[in-house]
């Protein structure tokens, strides 16, 4: 452990010494020194050497730590590893006749984990800047690692690599944003830093339907219409349950039916006897229109 030892002078002065001033006071008392580590890595052990003689009270204040102990001046004060696990500023205070303090810093240890936030959990294919991830490296004591490190982001859809990008952390954070892939299915998102790996999965789903086409026929009670298999522009089947809206416009008015896609196709029965123009839509996408003629009325005797 590389440790510089800044020196803190603590002048232990008797009451008479306190009443005196300047150099005479210092010469009347004893000079006490405490050497705190200049830098320490989380979970490391350290010693704080002291000089002087007699008893003193030592305090250590830091993140998660508040210690008070009686010490013999001239001895080393030991800092155990569990006292230095949290990165941050620590104050060592040594009180004899008066109190003096010194501050030292504990920095994070080696990376042992990554907070990895990936959005969204489900994304339509082919959307620009739709997938993003934020990686924050931590050490084994859950301290933020603020020294620059390179996080490798890898996105794979099926066996096809979508993105592989090294990103240097800035202020402890690395992030990416990218376009979703072209095929529906699981998108594996991996962030790695040395041997530390975090994995997430984003479900890529079909985007909006593309080229919605319908066919229909007149029945005794109205019109039956159904779509061709509904797919997005990349050819991915649009998931079952997606709502397709059929609208039939007749001379007498308009009828609308919402139907979910089942096994790739949406079907609807629309009542009405006259000629109708049937349109189809799903979300913001309009499909092709279909014209269906009027019901031919049957006359008694079977004559049209």
């Amino acid at each position: 452990m590389n440790m510089k030892m800044p020196c803190l002078h603590l002048t232990k002065i008797g009451m008479i010494g306190l009443l005196a001033a300047g150099l005479s006071a210092i010469s009347a008392g004893q000079t006490v020194e405490m050497h705190v580590p200049a830098a320490l890595v989380a979970g490391g052990q350290a010693s704080i050497p002291t000089t002087g003689s007699g008893k003193a009270t030592f305090y250590l204040l830091g993140p998660g730590v508040s210690r008070k102990s009686e010490v013999n001046l001239g001895d080393e004060i030991r800092l155990e590893s569990q006292e230095t696990q949290n990165a941050g500023a620590y104050q060592a205070i040594l009180c004899a006749d008066n109190c003096q303090s010194a501050t030292f810093y504990v920095s994070a240890a080696e990376p042992s984990g990554l907070y990895f936030l990936v959005h969204p959990s489900r994304v339509p294919v082919g959307q620009s800047d739709a997938v993003s991830g934020v990686a924050i490296p931590f050490d084994q004591f859950r301290n933020l690692i603020l020294s620059p490190a390179t996080v490798q982001f890898q996105l794979t859809a099926g066996t096809a690599p979508l993105l592989s990008r090294p990103v240097k952390t800035q202020a402890g954070i690395a992030w990416f944003r990218t376009t979703s892939g072209r095929s529906a299915g699981a998108l594996q998102v991996v962030a790695s830093l040395g041997s530390v790996v975090a994995r997430r999965v984003v479900q890529q789903v079909a985007s909006d339907p593309c080229n919605l086409k319908i066919e229909g026929q007149r029945t005794k009670t109205g019109i039956t219409v159904e779509t061709e298999p509904v797919r997005d522009c990349s050819g991915n089947p649009v998931p079952d349950g997606t709502i397709v809206t059929f609208t039939a416009t007749e001379q007498g008015g308009k009828s609308t039916v919402d139907a979910p896609i089942k096994q790739g196709i949406a079907r609807a029965q629309i009542s009405g006897q006259g000629a109708a123009l049937v349109s189809v839509a799903s979300g913001v996408v309009m499909g092709k229109e279909l014209h269906i003629g009027a019901q031919i009325e049957s006359r008694p005797g079977g004559q049209p």
Binding site: G64, G88, I93, Y105, L117, L144, L146, A171, W175
Partner: protein, 180 residues
């Protein structure tokens, strides 16, 4: 006689009213004092990749300020319950450990005249995490029981991670560094 009784009643009423006022006022004054002791300035100019909406900006100032008020009260009274709402994750764990450790050693701390210069340095694309740098200045007093062992003005650099919860932003990481 009547006027004497009336005067006695009036004095009694005045006494009760004064007592009532005294019992209410110290709390109000303390709240005002502690509130005026804590200022937060927030600079969102460097935030990215997501821009910080003005509503979020106000919420961060409100919740970070509230977190520090709770923190100061928790380490002064050694009451870890005060950390429950404004803190989460590792920040809450470490602060709880501080309070428990102070209870054991008989120490407590006081943070006075707090001034926080907060700067957003990262705001995630989806708005689910924000990193802030806080240059905090305050007077730190350390007590062993009732005996003051330290009283100093300090400038401290905090790296802060905040995340949104159901109704507020919570402090998830609070780590001191020598400098940014």
């Amino acid at each position: 006689m009547k006027s004497f009784l009336a005067a006695t009643h009036f004095r009694k009423f005045l006494g009760t009213a004064m007592l009532a006022l005294l019992s209410v006022f110290p709390t109000a004054l303390n709240a005002a004092d502690s509130a005026s002791e804590l200022s937060v300035q927030f600079d969102v100019g460097r935030a990215g990749p997501r821009a910080i909406e003005s509503l979020t900006e106000r919420a961060i100032v409100r919740d970070y300020r509230s977190a520090w008020m709770s923190l100061a009260e928790a380490v002064e009274s050694n009451n870890g319950d005060l950390l429950e709402t404004p803190f989460a994750g590792d920040a809450k764990r470490v602060l709880h450990e501080t309070v428990i450790s102070q209870q054991r050693s008989g120490l407590h701390q006081r943070y006075l005249n707090q001034s926080h210069k907060l700067e957003a340095v990262f705001y995630a694309p989806e708005g689910d995490v924000m990193e802030l740098h806080d240059t905090a200045e305050y007077e730190q007093q350390v007590f062993d029981g009732s005996k003051s062992i330290q009283d100093q003005h300090v400038v401290v650099h905090y790296v802060v991670l905040m995340t949104p919860s159901s109704d507020r932003w919570v402090v998830r990481q609070l780590q001191v560094v020598p400098q940014f």
